[in-house]
Symmetry: C2
Subunit: 158 residues, 2 copies
Amino acid sequence: MSIQSRLLAILVSVFILSGAAFAGAVEDELMAVDRAFNAMAQEDGVGKAFAHYMSEDARMLSGGSQPVLGHEAVAAAMAGYPADATLVWDPEEAVAAASGDMGFTWGRYVSTFTDAEGVVHTGHGKYVSIWQKQSGGGWKASVDIGNTNPDPAESSPE
Amino acid sequence: MSIQSRLLAILVSVFILSGAAFAGAVEDELMAVDRAFNAMAQEDGVGKAFAHYMSEDARMLSGGSQPVLGHEAVAAAMAGYPADATLVWDPEEAVAAASGDMGFTWGRYVSTFTDAEGVVHTGHGKYVSIWQKQSGGGWKASVDIGNTNPDPAESSPE
């Protein structure tokens, strides 16, 4: 093995190992970004939060609707999120690629809406967001998809 | 700049550029894997295909159900897929991380089930699969999630 080959092997190993060490840090970052996304939804409204956090090439895959593609269409669709509705979520887990430029979070959400009689209806579900690091730094969600499930508190444990 | 620093900079550049060139190839691979996953579902049944393609740490996030976590639980849940039901899907797009170890596909599916009177009911939806390269080579899906939408053929164009 030539000295060049050895050097290359060492450098590639260092690169891969530093990538592996980096992955845990990226996953912590993604958990924090997803929680910040939720915090913005509570403070500024769901529409503004999605407009801020979804990427230019965003794919919004909401239940009951056709796919909504591209930031402009996503922002327009989410701007119509009802003022008498809430959406609160919390990630359970984040997993990142070795390169630290892509990862996903998944978790559960609780939605409510208040009907004309003032009765609050509560829904439960789960979601996946796929995050891509932006060339200018920071993370945006390229994909958002979710679906409903029964209230986990009322489900029999498996 | 020392010779070592220059060499490191060159090697890192080569590594990053080869990663970028690689990304298109990885995306082609993911489209092919997702289509092979569908082909197996048609030939061997939905249950066997999910048992084959979902990872050890799979997260199956089906509408109407609580999250199903881990390969054993996913395989058990999908083994119960009704024999008189079909699920056919086709990816629209794949996107991969620069490191080529993670990516996602999303697309549309058509499901059918035949009721006791022999009437076929057809459903439409969309899905996201997140793929991770396995240490032994090959891809497995770490996440599967989908939801329903109206028949796209009957939807008014946006």
